[in-house]
Symmetry: C2
Subunit: 351 residues, 2 copies
Amino acid sequence: MLLFVIPPNTIFQLKKRVTLKQIAKELEVSVSTVSKALKNSEEISKDTKEKIQAFAKLYNYRPNNIALSLKNKKTKNIGVIIPDIVHHFFTTVFRGIEHYAGERGYNVMICVSDESFEKEVLNMELLANGSIDGFIMSLSAETQEKNDYTHLNEVLEQGIPLVLFDRVSDEVLCDKVILNDAEIAYEAVEYMIQTGKRNIALITTEGYFNVSFDRAKGYQTAIQKNGLDYNGALVLSLPYKSEDESPIWNFFENNEIDAVLCVNEIFAIKCMDVVQRQGKKVPEDISFIGFTNGILSRYSTPRLSTVAQHGELMGETAAKLLIDRIENDLEGNYKTEVISATLIHRESTIN
Amino acid sequence: MLLFVIPPNTIFQLKKRVTLKQIAKELEVSVSTVSKALKNSEEISKDTKEKIQAFAKLYNYRPNNIALSLKNKKTKNIGVIIPDIVHHFFTTVFRGIEHYAGERGYNVMICVSDESFEKEVLNMELLANGSIDGFIMSLSAETQEKNDYTHLNEVLEQGIPLVLFDRVSDEVLCDKVILNDAEIAYEAVEYMIQTGKRNIALITTEGYFNVSFDRAKGYQTAIQKNGLDYNGALVLSLPYKSEDESPIWNFFENNEIDAVLCVNEIFAIKCMDVVQRQGKKVPEDISFIGFTNGILSRYSTPRLSTVAQHGELMGETAAKLLIDRIENDLEGNYKTEVISATLIHRESTIN
DNA sequence: TGGGAGCGTGCAGCGCTTGCACACGTTCTC
DNA sequence: GAGAACGTGTGCAAGCGCTGCACGCTCCCA
């Protein structure tokens, strides 16, 4: 029977994967016959097919992915580049991507940019050299700040499909999946106004995230459309990662605030904590609404009302857009899918 | 100059990646000359090399990963299979893997088993067909329950390296990275005893996780070695995912408990919440220690004392073991690296 | 006896590497 | 000054595993 090549220095016997060539040799037919037989081709007689198929099954033949990729110029892999993996929102989006891609027979390669422009570029170049059929990504903080998208455009020029989600840019022509950030921020603020709040603060990130920008816009519009005065002093920008609570403490001590919209979950939790230590009651004295319906919101004290971003749906949508584009020739016609966020009412807002 | 093939139905001009063949044709040399020149081979004259290198640079030549993989029988990819991605611990481990792998020039393909045996098997088979050089995985709940590891052993027999972390099994002979679960549970319980606690409960998972088992062992040993009576009634097994709080509520109502060790963060948070709603004070009436130093622990009320599992270090260690095995012929000699957990004291325990 | 079926083979090629052969020019030797 | 010996630079071909086209062969029937 089959002769496996056993490296002399191997302790136990390796059952290396069997190739078409080996099957062909063993069964004394040609490689193409084996290939066709395994594909149940009409060109091969029933007898031969059965013999080959039985043999292949016995030896657990599986076609080599790499060889297929080279031949077909399709890898059935998609590349995902996200700024951070230890982050509830990205993680749920990723789950959506992984699920959907799996269903359509795609595998996922993932790279983390760590919010760094350089790593984003590097990772893209690495994957663009044939490893994947398309990209799904969310821009790193640095990239948005530099406003430099040449690496994305180069990839697109090479004909590699790209879908951007959440952190996107108008300067890149491709499919996109975004949240209706401005609208939902508007809705959140208006909700607080309707429950009697008048001095509404916004806690946002430093830097140039399109999402923070949109949320701020929604915040401002809601204030103004509801006949309140927009007061820039009630907008606090916090560094993305910092353990220093003093700016928060000062902010709430020096301003009359009875409601807060935070552009993420952690800011909201931190602020709620500070405010409660300052002796204020949530939500009676001060209401809170955050973004991201993560684990923190569900278990904080009090439970945080928040904007659910439906990350999994975003991920699925992005994967669908990408795979559709990979498999069909869509000739431009880039779509931007908007996911509708939902406001979840819990204990940090007045009912 | 170079003639790119432009599909007739393409709207804008695609700058498809350039291949050795195209460079060769353009410069009227052979493919092998180009290949050697780009590798700075001594066989090629300085003039020719310079000409070819300049041209390649101009056209941004990058070798095709797939072709290289086929040739070298090395993909420079590693496959990671984890039970869940929206989970702080796995996510930190993954980050460690990704960082370390990246440094050594490896990319990461990731599959999520969703705690399902079937998906785990499927994903493994998919990746084992040439897509990756080795696996890093943590067993799914179902796999541990079924106690069926044939898919792992098959992969090993094929000579594909495998590293197991956290959720491991003695029935698989391979490199492993684990936490000193029993010891740290022992330490945690002993700490609570030293702070005067006597009726210490354990909240653990249903099912057959090796980690829960080890933690329970540490718990029991600590109780007994410190001259207390082990009382089975003080051990509560909870389903992995469930919103029903009544078992927790009843458990704390029907038992005299003054300290609790929980095998994960969420259980701890949920229990603390229930207990506080029952009017008890944490940590005066009842202390809590959880596992996983996640975001919840840091922001809960009160802050949760917990066992830091050092996920990133686990990930890095696993990746190092794997890549070392991929790149060197280690001939068995499987190692089990033990990561030392650390107890983090916060507000849910008495100082 | 020409031409389908019916079955099967061979070759080329996907993009890249690499050992070896070969062509050519220079230098050495008698 | 002719042939051997050598060195330099380049190309050929095989091969990684697989597919698909273009054929070839053998029957058999009209």
